[in-house]
Amino acid sequence: ASSSAVIDMENMDDTSGSSFEDMGEMHQQLKEEDDVGEEPVPTEEDDGAFLGVKGLKGQLGRDVADQVWQAGKRQASKAFNLYGNIDILRPYFDVEPIQVRNRLMESLIPVQMINFPQKVAGELYGPLMLVFTLVAILLHGMKTSGTVIREGTLMGTAIGTCFGYWLGVSSFVYFLGYLCNAQITMLQMLSLLGYGLFGPCIVLLVTYNVHLHSLFYLLWFIIGGLSTLRMVAVMLSRTIGQTQRLAICGVLAALHMVFLLYLHFAYHRIVEGILDTLEGPNAGPVRFPRDIAELSITLLNSTVKSIGASLQMR
């Protein structure tokens, strides 16, 4: 058998050494090597009066409180240096504009070859910007439709929805992938799902401005479907076993498509045209998301009467 000294890195399994935990541990080890000689030396103070009249409020209490504080501070600084050091994220933001553009285009093109693991970009700039773009589109949609949020603010709702979907579904699918032995890291899952939001951004940007349900359904099926197929194909290439593939890809496809439906119907007007004619005391109910008000015959009748009255006045 012939062996080659050239290793094809194009489709190498890149699931090792690129996780947040690996980067964090490396930084933590470097930090601990620097901090070896910096441990605080406990000083012995005069213990003559530590069991003095005041008891815990005396020297003993102060020493115990100080030791607890120092121990807690050390633990907190260790945890912060491990997880709060933004330098561990620096490699994931090192991109060029042309790379981002190509990845955006590729997010709508499903791959056909699923027999070997497809490469997933380990990058967070594009996904983060797409999530923020979705927040901006949601805000625009809520403002144009006069949506009122009962508990909270528009900004908080939009940010919570978008980031909650991105982080929550990524975590859930990553957990499913862990159970089904899929070859994907959390970073890759975040990147894949983040770029998968490009399709919903396009659909919502169009349908929040052109109010046609048929157009929405068409775009939901085509563009939403393409971005979902792209993610499903990548997951298929990285999962072994029919049942496991079905579980992961079914959940991912269902969540992605339903999320787009939810964004359209929960944060935008559902009654076009009729609300435009309502003014003043005849104004219809204020639009609340997740609280769909059913149109009653009386409302329709009052609308028709108000239109007729305004026409007669002219």
């Binding site: 933001f93 090192d94 991109v95 060029e96 504009p97 910007m129 923020f132 901006a136 805000l139 900004m155």
Partner: protein, 178 residues
């Protein structure tokens, strides 16, 4: 004699508290003229006098249009500065201070004041308003990204810096238009 001494004393006092009117004017001209190249040494200064004046002017013009949005301006400015500071420190080799980011973003709010001034005269929720808002957002983000890349030496990544700036100024535009 007394008048000249007074002016000299005032100039010394102004310099002592860190206000450089020439630099403020240079930065303002850099924002107003997107084609003017930015001087990295001037842009790297942490000057918040101009940005604070511009934020107050923005709030005042919104007030003239009947919108009391000072709290939203403050909140969005603070969150936007923190987010841009984090993003730029992740993307650049040389770091940038939060004050510098706040200064640049504040100066580049000037075109948004023009938009909010237009909102006093006519409604921006129409055929004229939306394209005008898009032009102003592009103007602000172009100026801000130009200043950032001159400070951080990030040539070739202006689009990557401009896009998050555009999202931030888009939020301000939503405040102005709706």
């Amino acid at each position: 004699m007394e008048t000249s001494n007074f002016h000299e004393d005032m100039d010394g006092l102004v310099q002592q508290i860190g206000i450089n009117f020439d630099h403020i004017w240079q930065k303002t001209l850099t924002v107003l003229n997107p084609m003017k190249p930015a001087d990295g040494s001037i842009m790297n200064e942490t000057d918040l006098t101009g940005p604070m004046v511009f934020c107050l002017a923005f709030g005042a013009t919104l007030l003239l249009a009947g919108k009391v949005q000072f709290g939203y301006i403050y909140g969005i400015s603070v969150l936007g500065c923190l987010a841009m500071h984090t993003l730029l420190n992740l993307m650049s080799v040389t770091g940038v201070s939060c004050g510098c980011v706040a200064s640049v973003l504040g100066y580049c709010l000037l075109p948004m004041i023009i938009l909010s001034g237009c909102a006093v005269l006519f409604s921006l929720q129409g055929v004229i308003g939306i394209p005008l808002a898009l032009i102003v957002i592009g103007w602000c983000s172009l100026s801000a990204s130009k200043m950032f890349i001159s400070t951080l030496a990030m040539e070739g990544q202006q689009l990557l810096v401009a896009y998050p700036c555009a999202l931030l100024y888009g939020i301000f535009a939503l405040l102005t238009v709706f």
